[in-house]
Amino acid sequence: MSIILDHVTYTYSEKTAYEIKALDDVSLSIKDGEFIGIIGHTGSGKSTLVQHLNGLLRATSGTIYYNGQDIYDKDFNLKNMRTKVGMVFQYPEHQLFETTVFEDVKYGPKNQGLSDKEATNRAYDALADVNFPDEYFDQSPFELSGGQKRRAAIAGVLAMEPEVLILDEPTAGLDPKGQRDILNLIRRMHESSGRTIILVSHSMEDVAEYVDRIIVMDEGRVFLDGAPDYVFSHTDLLEEKGLAVPQVTYLMEELRAKGIPIEGQPTTLEMAEKEILRLHKAGVF
């Protein structure tokens, strides 16, 4: 299972006065089971990029291969692929429409052609996966709190049991606890099922802590692509583009500037803690 983008370019409102090149010659290869974070400032093309991965947008030029098959091929079943590459949009709670949460979550599986019984099972599992409280299953989705709506909407995508899960800024507009919960949930999903996860975010801390690979977008291009410590070792480049590295990375760099021999590029609190303890044991402090 892999997704390959080969020189993908996308232009909004092509051939009009409002033409915007949102993706510019993007080539990427996404392997099975990867946990990828996509960062970049607003308007850098993150959402446009991920909407290509399940064929919701059609590249102006370039090709996309899903498990080796060209998704723009005439015989390729795009509708089927969309259910394999699950996509949680930004503010997914805006897509809720059914009379009860449970019915809403069943919408995806039913579209996949599953029987009512199977859809019910899937919905039950998905809601359990996102820790959605049982007592609200039959509530109208419009009467829930923001965090619960978000969970219900995410469950709606999970219920289709996608092989790849894309989440576009899933924590936007939630309180800190809600954000943690959602991110931990995503991590759990990655660890338990090993499915590919693509997380769009603009929080460096979140991305550094959770993902194994970071893709930095800038003006529709892939600007940096690699493991968190690799990407966050380019502090200057990132700052030039108006981005930042995690707070701890700044701290570690300052310590290094003071002559303390920090090894590697700690990007999370945990890594920083380990490094400081190691130095402490080695008698540097």
């Binding site: 409002y18 949009f89 919408y107």
Partner: protein, 265 residues
């Protein structure tokens, strides 16, 4: 695919026409329509054509944008043209099998087609060079005398601006919701009429919810800023005539007189 419709037809450019006061453009459009219906002979049409070409060149809008409006009425043009051509009695000038074309039919068909094409091009010129907001501003000012008769001119134009402002937002929202449901396997294209109508529910419900949410947010925001209707309300960008607007008025009147006189002689 959506933003094209959403911004109305406005084509951003920096031209004399774009800078003209919207009231002038509304007035010019009105005169232009009247003139198109007065004119019947070739000479007045030549004057109109010359004026139209001049304005098109001044507008700095690519010609293809004006022709775009014509695509929608091609069928109408063909049908109306054919009917006029073959169905008008008069001296037969041409015969194709059982069909006869009369002199009057030929003339009527040509006038009709030219009028329609000019009408579309002329009115799109106005919408291409004027933002929807300027248009409603212009309308409000032009119709202000009616408010003395008790017509709710300000309210109507406020409603129009809000509606115009919301069109792109709702269109974008529709696009987003459609994509989100498509990502959940929704299919809006296959199936019979009832299946397709049913498939719209997952789009319409969230769309209404969001429209109401936005409307109540907006109402709240307006109230928080003490909006209380038109009475005594001033504008951030009041419409004021510049020298070029006065020149434009003179030219429009000259154009009207010229065509009227040429049509009479």
């Amino acid at each position: 695919m959506f933003r094209e419709i959403t911004l109305g037809q406005y084509y951003p450019a920096d031209s004399v026409l774009h800078r003209l006061d919207p009231r002038v453009k509304l007035f010019a459009t009105l005169i232009y329509i009247i003139v198109l219906f007065i004119a019947e002979k070739p000479i007045p049409f030549l004057v109109i054509t010359a004026a139209l070409i001049a304005v098109i060149v001044m507008s700095k809008v690519p010609f293809s944008y004006m022709v775009r409006g014509l695509r929608g009425i091609v069928m109408l043009l063909v049908i109306a043209g054919v009917f006029n051509l073959f169905m008008t009695p008069g001296i037969v000038v041409y015969k194709i099998g059982p069909f006869e074309i009369s002199d009057i039919g030929l003339k009527n068909a040509i006038i009709m087609v030219v009028r329609m094409v000019y009408l579309i091009i002329g009115t799109s010129l106005m919408t291409l060079t004027t933002t929807p907001n300027q248009l409603t501003d212009g309308l409000e000012r032009s119709l202000r005398p009616l408010s003395r008769l008790g017509a709710p001119v300000h309210e109507i134009s406020m409603m129009m601006s809000i509606a115009l402002r919301f069109i792109p937002i709702l269109v974008e929202e529709t696009d987003k919701i459609m994509k989100a449901q498509m990502a959940r396997g929704a299919d809006f294209e296959s199936g019979g009429l009832i299946t397709r109508a049913k498939a719209m529910v997952p789009i319409l419900v969230p769309l209404f919810v969001s429209a109401f949410r936005r409307a109540s947010d907006l109402a709240m925001a307006m109230e928080a800023r003490c909006y209380h209707g038109g009475e005594g309300r001033t504008k951030m960008k009041p419409l004021t005539y510049k020298a070029s607007d006065r020149v434009a008025y003179v030219l429009i009147m000259a154009f009207l007189v010229a065509v009227a006189v040429l049509s009479l002689i």
